[in-house]
Amino acid sequence: RTRQGDPQQCRIQQLSASRPSRRIESEGGVTELWDENEEQFQCAGVAATRNIIQQNSLSLPNFSPSPRLVYIQQGRGLLGISYPGCAESYHSRRQSTSQQSPRERQTEQQRGEDQHQKVHRIRRGDIVALPAGAAHWCYNDGNEELIALSITDVNSETNQLDQTPRSFYLAGGEPKRSSTQQQKQQYNANNILRAFDERMMADAFDVPMEVVRKMQREDERGFIVKVEQGEMSMIRPDEEEDEESEERRRGSN
């Protein structure tokens, strides 16, 4: 398949440097978007976004129908990616405590818990590849803002929708400050779980309706949220071990 761009879009008389034209403020950071209708973006079939994630904040899980390359301009964080069709977690029996009732112990023993999670350390200068359809989240556990510039190839052959840049979010919601209809149209993103019937969702997840109501409630925090109750815990190798293996790789080249 060839790239689907309209050749008419590339009759550009003059190129120009551009800056973001829109700004979506969330509880834990800002999303800045370049105007995808600019001739140069239309010609190249790409969209540009800059995410600024504050300290101890989480960019909520989302995926895009087009592949995306991200450059970490500043800061450090943890990135989780779920590739469709790939098993990500392994399970082990949970240790039961003597304070639990036998029934609780039985329930706990029947359920697994993650022994491993695929979480990547990202830091300033990294380029990160996010394949089309891979759901990802990013947590800023550093001591400064994490700034990430993304270029999305909306013209990619993996995208069978139109060339409008889209993000499908699995949580969060339109921030209150940017909830005008115009901005909604401009930032093509929303929480897809909220539109499902709560009874069907409760049956699908096999959880009480109350939990589904919480998942679907109006969330004005936006798409980047502050993490509550201190830092998030993750299962991942020690940083030192990470850096040592990186050093070893460099040394053996």
Binding site: S82, G133, Y169, A189, N190, A195, F205, D206
Partner: protein, 181 residues
């Protein structure tokens, strides 16, 4: 040689054999798919198909198709179907019956629940090797996320986040009815 191979390629495959189901659940139903690995001519056509069979009140887990549009045609029974677009709006919410055809674009999330008489359908997909990403079940997107990420994303407790991750961990795509349903 290429032309000869193409000309002699097998063009048909029986799609409704329970013994050859790709996904089978004793309580929920089965899925039979035909992709370019089973029927190589589909590589040239860039298409594939799937036959689904849901038992009464069973569900097809909420999921989205990663690399294909999905056009499904109801061959027997009826079901409640919901589909959600990228803007978070419900783009389809209704009952489908035998003879109905629905187009679900790539990345639009969808779930189905069979009515009391069960539900059968055949899907046509615009990829020779379609991939779907489920929200619920053993290989679901949410199950792959740490409990803390879910708890903070949905503002729920750790226990509730664990329930979301694990309550359906023994199922893949096809979900048996719960006591509620």
């Amino acid at each position: 040689g290429m032309e000869e191979a193409y000309c002699n390629m097998r063009i048909n495959m029986y799609l409704d054999n329970p013994k050859e189901a790709d996904v089978y659940s004793r309580q929920a139903g089965r899925l039979n798919s035909v992709n370019m690995n089973k029927l190589p001519i589909l590589r040239y056509m860039q298409m594939s198909a799937e036959k689904g069979n849901l038992y009464p009140n069973a569900m097809f887990a909420p999921h989205w198709s990663v690399n294909a549009h999905n056009i499904f045609y109801v061959t027997r029974g009826s079901a409640q179907v919901q589909a959600v677009g990228s803007n978070g709006n419900t783009v389809f919410n209704g009952r489908v019956n035998e003879g109905d055809l629905v187009v679900v674009p790539q990345y639009f999330a969808m779930m189905k629940r069979a009515d009391s008489n069960g539900f059968e359908w055949v899907s046509f997909k615009t990829s020779p090797l379609p991939v779907r990403s489920p929200l619920v079940g053993s290989r679901s997107t949410l199950k792959a996320m740490p409990v803390d990420v879910l708890a903070n994303s949905f503002q729920i407790s750790q226990k509730e986040a664990e329930d979301i991750k694990y309550n359906r961990e023994n199922h893949m795509f096809l979900l048996p009815p719960t006591s509620r349903s």
